[in-house]
Symmetry: C2
Subunit: 316 residues, 2 copies
């Protein structure tokens, strides 16, 4: 078996790349811009060239490279075919085939949220677990499910899309997906801001959040200062998220929930708000799921991508 | 590879057994009573004896037997350890180890609902699919998830326990699991009766359901006669179930939902009530899931159990 692998995480503004040894340690990481013009036709060639440059720069023998894992922002099926990555301008595209053609190396592709979940299992907050649900609380709510050590891809690459679980019948505003009452509308960074604005408008209770620009960070900072209004907002956030994750637990019964994304920078205080509703709503046999923070931050995707190809090819 | 396999489905009142050829055709099936006295200590020896008798009776060479699959009513982990099968009186027990000791043949065990899901994939309504969610609408709501052709067991054997997904905040009655507002309270046979009784009490609208003993069958029979009250009840049932299955789709993105259990005897008219709410609540990429009826009835468990061992050992 080879000595190195590359992990790639393609985003809408930049492509993150990492060189890993076969133990999964990150040796080097860098970024290139994502050129989305002309339906993103330059993205994969740019990425291939960047990897070739790194191979030359580091004086690596190509035979020592196990392969390349690539995370993509869109639904990717189990054969590595991506179906419409809107942010990149791509339509249907088989990544291992196209990218393998540039470099003549084994390539595996998966959805970026699923790659991040795999990364957290491989070298992050869920190391040692094989059944987990990773939840990314950022601008939206993303998710990735790992079952028995494998990414749950789903029939059309939408496995783990938990941000759009319907959670509130009374919602009047539309989610980005056009439905109303999706988990993402309450548990994402923007969802928390929405909850905060609604709560502050409800009455004139004193709060350090008033007169400030509201953000998820501001809410949880205020929670840490024991601001009662902020605690109510966090409680509402936790009620929605705990209820949503209880549904996830009833379906896949994970050992661990890994909570990441910008909102998770608030730290383990989040769990004070998520775990009690989770345990209230979860089916008894699923109630023991642990909650941990993601530890790899924005590098989870490249760790997962490298880990996926290293795991797969080590079975060869 | 051998020529035969046995499929076993252990229930609270009887143990169903089937002899299959290696193509998965059922050659013979029979039942023995489940002796639950003394913490169910006789159940596995009785089952082993029954299989040995069948082997003798049919003049089968033991070397021609691939193995035995066993479905158990309780959480079973990926190594075949069952944790408390309350209806059988069992506590923790590793089935392959214990049962293999009686017969000296390969044994695999799984939860009975998961086995039934596997059976519907193997020889039933979802033949040819590899990603599916089987939903059993009986006294309760059971479920089994198949991902990439494998049973989703979960961290503690509770994968697919979708009957206890929280779906209604306003519920005042307790579910059997002690929570309030579980899917099972609206989508099971007993749940449909509850919905019907509530609806009939609401006002005095004429309905052929009045003055009769209410059952799920009576409700759907009345639906077929275009009884407006029954159609409302079925609509409520479908709204709850469609919403619950949309959550399942957001987590595991199945290709197919297989609907079985007593309620499914109503036939494909069920889909008129389930599918529109499902599509309304499901995330776009998961909305294409097909709905089919289970076709194996009470035999799904033995088919799945035999199929599991045949599939596993054919990779040897």
């Amino acid at each position: 078996m080879g000595k190195y692998a590359f992990g790639v995480d393609i985003g809408g503004t930049s492509v993150k790349l990492g060189l890993f040894n076969k133990a999964g340690n990150l040796l080097d990481k860098w970024e290139i811009p994502t050129r989305i013009e002309n339906d993103g036709e330059a993205i994969l060639p740019d990425t291939a060239e960047s990897i070739l440059n790194k191979i030359r720069e580091q004086g690596i023998n190509k035979e020592d490279i196990v392969g390349i894992g690539i995370g993509v922002p869109g639904p990717v099926d189990s054969k590595g075919t991506v179906y419409e990555a809107v942010n990149l301008g791509w339509s249907v595209l088989n990544i291992p085939k196209v990218f393998g053609g540039y470099l003549d190396l084994p390539v595996m592709a998966a959805n970026d949220a699923n790659m991040a979940a795999f990364g957290e299992m491989y070298q992050g907050g869920a190391r040692g677990c094989t059944d987990l649900a990773a939840v990314t609380l950022g601008t939206g709510v993303g998710g990735g499910i790992i079952v028995n050590g494998h990414i749950l891809t789903g029939a059309c690459g939408a496995g783990g899309e938990i941000g759009h679980i319907h959670i509130e019948d009374e919602e009047t505003q539309e989610c980005g997906c056009k439905n109303k009452g999706c988990l993402e509308q309450y548990a994402s960074a923007t969802g928390i801001v929405r909850l905060a604005e609604r709560r502050l408008k409800k009455n004139s209770d004193e709060s350090m959040l008033r007169g400030k620009s509201i953000s998820a960070k501001a809410v949880f900072d205020a929670v840490k200062e024991k601001d009662q209004v902020a605690i109510e907002i966090a409680g509402e956030f936790g009620e929605y998220l705990g209820k949503g994750l209880a549904a996830v637990a009833g379906v896949v019964n994970p050992e661990v929930f890994v909570i990441g994304g910008g909102v998770s920078n608030a730290g383990s205080i989040l769990f004070d708000f998520i775990v009690p509703p989770f345990q209230k709503y979860a089916f008894e046999n699923c109630r023991g799921a642990k909650f941990v923070l993601a530890t790899l931050g924005n590098d989870a995707g490249i760790y997962g991508a490298a880990g996926l190809i290293l795991n797969e090819r080590s079975n060869d």
